[in-house]
Amino acid sequence: MLTLAIDSSTDNLGLALMESGQLRGEFNLSLKRQHSEKLLPLMEEIFELLEIEAKDLDGAAVATGPGSFTGLRIGITTAKMLGRIFAIPVKGIPTLEIMAAGAAGAYRLALLDARRERVYYAFYQQPEADSDDFIKEIYPPAAVRIAELPEVLNDYSQKQITIIGEKKLEVGKVLKASNFSIKYGEPESDLPRAAVLARLGENYLKRGQKDDIYQLKPAYLKKPQAEINWQQKYGSN
C-alpha cells in the first residue's frame, strides 16, 4: 500500500511517501507562502526520484489545519483531485494531531499560533500499549486565549505534559506559573512532519477510515472576518 502525505497547512511544506509501513521519502521545507509554487513541482520531483508514478498511489493523507487558509486549500485541493482521478481513498488529519503523533511523552499539548495572545491547541495522550492508535485525543483542536489554558487543562495539572509547536515557551511559562509539570518537545517535533502524516494516514486508511472527498474541507477554526463583522452588526444568520 502506497500512501502519499501532503501538508501545506503551516509554513512547513511537507510531502512523504509511505509504502506499507516503510518510509520511502520525505520533504519538509520551511517555505512560508510559497506553497502554491512549490507543492506540485516537489511532488513531481519526489515521484521522479523514487521512480513512482502518480497512478501507483493507493491512498493520500492530507493535513486539514488549522493553519493558513490559502495553504490549507492548496493541499486539500491536491488531495481531492488525486482521490477523484485515481479513485483512491483520502484521509484528512488535523495538523495538531500530526504534531502530537510525532512527539514523545504520556501527555502532549500541540500548539499553533492563532495571533493576538491566542493559540490553536489540541491535547493528546499516549494510547494504551495494545491499541492500534498512534495517538489518543483528549481535547480536539480549538482556539483559546493563552491565559485560559491552565483552566482548560486543569484535570491534568498533576501529569507531566510535553508541549510542542509554536508559542511553546510562552504557553509553558503560563502553565508553570499555575504549577503544572511541563516539558518541552524536541525542535523537530515543533513542525508537523510529513512522514508522521503518512504513517497516520496509512494507519487510518488500512482500517478503512477515509473521508468523503466531496465533503472534505479545511478545519479553518475561524469564520471569515466579513462573516464575524456581519454577525456582530446584525446577529446570527
Partner: protein, 350 residues
C-alpha cells in the same frame, strides 16, 4: 516553456487532430468548469454562481469566495465531464485562469489543474482571464473573419489589440493612466450617480446634449495609446468652476458630454487602426462594451469600411470556463504551456 514542450513531446497533437481541453475558472465569485473540443466547440460549460452568498455583504468577500470554490470544485468538474461525455483519460490538456482576479480563489482551480496535469501527464495551460472574455466573442460568433481588431474596455483595461488569427495578438495601444471603465466610475462617483459608473453615466446621459460642453480628447500623437486622466480633471474643474460662479449644473448634459468624449477617444484610435491594418472585423469586449452610445457610434463609423462590429452576448459576459478553454486551445497549438510552479497573478496583464 521549453522544458514543458519536451516533457509532452511524444503525445502532443496537431491542428488536424481533435483536441479536448478541460478548463477551470474561479477568479471571482463563479466556480466554473468546461470541456472544449478544438477550441470553440463547447461540449460542456458549467458555472456555479455564488452571487446570492455575497449579496448580504454588498460585494464579493474573497475568503468566503475561496471557501466556496473549494466546495464546488469537484461537483462542477464532474458535471462538466459528464455533460461532455468524456473521462479524465480522454483529455489532451488542462487549463485554468492564472489571473487577474482574487488570488485565494484563483489558487483553488489553478492547484486543481496542476494536480490534473501531474496526475495524467498532460500539459498545463495558464490562461489570462481578460483574454478569455475576448475569446467569448469567438465562441458566440465563430463566423468572425480575421484579421481583426479588438477593443477591450473595462474597469481595469483599455487595450487595443490586433489579431492576425486566433493564435495570438499584438497590443497596439493601452491606457497610460486610467482605464475607460475606471474613468466612468470616478466621474459617476464625483457626480453622485452611483456604482458601477458605466450604466449610471449612460442613463444620466440619455436625456442630455452631448455637445453642451466641449471636453478635451487626449491627443497622444501617432500612438494607439489612450489617456483619460486629463478628461477626468477637466470634468472636475468644470464642475468646480460652475459651482463657484453659482451656476447650476445640468447633470444630463455633463454626463452626455463626458460620455461622448470617452467614446470619441476610444473610436479615434480604433478607426485609425482600421485604416492602417485593413482588418475584416472589429470586436468589443469588457464591461464598457455594453455602452450603447459607444456601440451605435462605432457601428455608424464602421459602415463606410463595410465592417461589422461584434460584441459578446450577455450570457458570455459573466465569468465562465468555456472562454478559458477557447484561449487554452490556441495556446496549446502554440505549445504555450505553464510549468507546475506557475502561481496566480492577481493583476496579470494581457
Amino acid at each position: 516553456m521549453g522544458v514543458e514542450k519536451l516533457k509532452y513531446k511524444d503525445k502532443l497533437k496537431n491542428k488536424n487532430e481533435d483536441i479536448y481541453i478541460l478548463a477551470l475558472e474561479s477568479s471571482c465569485d463563479e466556480t466554473a468548469a468546461a470541456v472544449n473540443k478544438n477550441g470553440l466547440e463547447v461540449m460542456a460549460n458549467v458555472v456555479s454562481s455564488q452571487v446570492e452568498i455575497h449579496k448580504k455583504f454588498g460585494g464579493v468577500v474573497p475568503e468566503i469566495a475561496s471557501r466556496k470554490h473549494l466546495e464546488l470544485l469537484l461537483p462542477v468538474i464532474d458535471q462538466a465531464l459528464a455533460e461532455a461525455g468524456i473521462k479524465f483519460e480522454d483529455l489532451d490538456a488542462v487549463a485554468a485562469t492564472s489571473g487577474p482576479g482574487l488570488v485565494g480563489g484563483l489558487l483553488v482551480t489553478l492547484t486543481a489543474a496542476k494536480t490534473i496535469s501531474l496526475a495524467l501527464n498532460i500539459p498545463l495551460i495558464g490562461v489570462n482571464h481578460i483574454a478569455g472574455h475576448i475569446y467569448a466573442n469567438f465562441i458566440a460568433n465563430p463566423e468572425i473573419k480575421k484579421p481583426l481588431l479588438c477593443l477591450t474596455i473595462s474597469g481595469g483595461h483599455t487595450d487595443l489589440l490586433y489579431f492576425e488569427d486566433l493564435r495570438g495578438y499584438q497590443i497596439l495601444g493601452r491606457t497610460i493612466d486610467d482605464a475607460a471603465g475606471e474613468a466612468f466610475d470616478k466621474i459617476s462617483r464625483f457626480l453622485g450617480l452611483g456604482y458601477p459608473g458605466g450604466p449610471a453615466i449612460e442613463k444620466a446621459a440619455q436625456t442630455g446634449n452631448e455637445e453642451a460642453i466641449d471636453f478635451p480628447r487626449a491627443d497622444l500623437g501617432k500612438s494607439y495609446n489612450f489617456s483619460f486622466s486629463g478628461l477626468k480633471t477637466s470634468v472636475m474643474n468644470y464642475v468646480n468652476n460652475e459651482k463657484q460662479r453659482g451656476n447650476e449644473i445640468n447633470t444630463s448634459d455633463l454626463a452626455a458630454s463626458f460620455q461622448k468624449a470617452v467614446v470619441d477617444s476610444l473610436a479615434s484610435n480604433l478607426l485609425q487602426a482600421v485604416e492602417e491594418y485593413k482588418v475584416e472585423s472589429v470586436v468589443l469586449s469588457g464591461g464598457v462594451a455594453a455602452n450603447q452610445r459607444l456601440r451605435s457610434y462605432l457601428e455608424e463609423k464602421l459602415e463606410k469600411y463595410n465592417l461589422k462590429l461584434y460584441y459578446p452576448p450577455l450570457e458570455l459576459c459573466t465569468d465562465n470556463a468555456a472562454m478559458i478553454g477557447a484561449v487554452a486551445y490556441y495556446q496549446y497549438l502554440e505549445r504555450d504551456f505553464a510549468p507546475l510552479s506557475i502561481s496566480a497573478d492577481p493583476s496579470l496583464k494581457l
